[in-house]
């Protein structure tokens, strides 16, 4: 393999060249010990690398065994309950009409059911539900579960696909040329999958009249 021409000697010892700001006391004893030093310096470098990366690996493995959060659906959680203190993510849809709110010691408590279509689990969460939380919509609750008790959630996330819609809208507009105005104004991205049970009731109520 050809190496491009170099305008300097190939094997240079940095201890000799390359001026430095605070030139440390670098005496003239280098020639005798250079080989040794080079070897031991390389050893130092390799050792540091090895130590740092094995520490990182150990940390990762340790954290994986203790702080990985598994995702479970209601039917899974009921069929195979996790270890009591293990934090898991429970995902599913909020059963419409199941949300009950109470206040305990000035702290709001929300209790609702989450289902995956096969089983439902009651979730208890004290705190503010996210803005995008809707009955009949998907949620993910983070917390612990003990059989016979409600799922104790420390965090509730509402899943939303704000940006999923515009592309689909674009596709639809492209394919059909336009939306049909007879069906009304196209709903905004935020609304099409976030209609609540109440709104649906309202609609059916209105249409029945």
């Amino acid at each position: 393999m050809s190496t491009p021409s170099h305008d300097r000697p190939a094997d240079r010892n940095p201890a000799r060249e390359g001026p430095a700001t605070n030139a440390g006391p670098d005496g003239g004893r280098r020639t005798a010990t250079r080989r040794m030093t080079r070897k031991s310096r390389r050893l130092w470098l390799t050792l540091t690398c090895l130590i740092c990366f094995s520490a990182a690996t150990a940390l990762v493995l340790n954290a994986f065994s203790s702080s990985i959060v598994f995702f479970m659906a209601p039917s899974q959680i009921l069929a195979r309950p996790p270890v009591p203190d293990r934090v898991i993510r429970l995902g599913g849809m909020v059963v419409a009409g199941s949300l009950r709110r109470t206040v305990e010691d000035n702290v709001p408590v929300n209790v609702f059911d989450v289902t995956d279509g096969q089983a439902a689990v009651t979730v208890r969460f004290s705190g503010i539900l996210p803005d995008l939380f809707r009955e009949g919509q998907s949620v993910v609750a983070l917390g612990t579960f003990r059989p016979g008790h409600p799922f104790a959630a420390t965090e509730v996330l509402a899943k939303h696909d704000e940006t999923y819609m515009p592309r689909e809208v674009a596709e639809a507009l492209k394919r059909s040329g336009k939306w049909d105005p007879r069906f009304g104004k196209p709903p905004s991205a935020g609304s099409w999958d976030s209609m609540t049970r109440n709104e649906a009731r309202e609609m059916t109520g209105r249409s029945a009249q």
Binding site: M1, E168, L173, W192, R197, M203
Partner: protein, 186 residues
Amino acid sequence: MTIPSRRRLLMALPVAGAGALGLGCWKILSSMEEGGFDPRAIRTEAMRHPLPDFSLGGLPGAGEGFDTRTLSRTGEPVLVNFFASWCIPCVAEMDALRKIARFLPIWGIAYKDRPEDARRFVLRDGSPYRRIGLDPDGMTAIEWGVTGVPESFLVLPGGHIAWHASAALDARQFEEKVLPLTREAK
């Protein structure tokens, strides 16, 4: 100038690592495209589960309603499709559904929709649906584990869900995934 092979090997490590990562990403992407993997899916597969219990009223003038019994007693595979007139991807899906309807009966479920809107929506360019059930409050959709519209399920005779798509269907998907399953069933 000779270069020790150990050194060569060392320098090739990054490309090997990146290659492995890239391969993994490619695998994920291709299975995402097939619909077998959705990183945002938050429910278990509805597949190979018996039908949930439900009973839906029909849409007068467009199709009669149905329930668990009627759906499980059909002698042929049925595609159950959740739709809504306010859902624009559903508008886009209609063309494909009309084509599919030539091979396979499609039963629709209008999700959180007003009957008159649903009727107009369905009848505008010809309905692909044999039957239409109204699910005004979305409860049946919850029973089925639907997270949005459109979603489609392939129900085999005897009332087993054999296949499920949580996005709009297209002809290619239908030919590659759904048709073989219906042939098997027959």
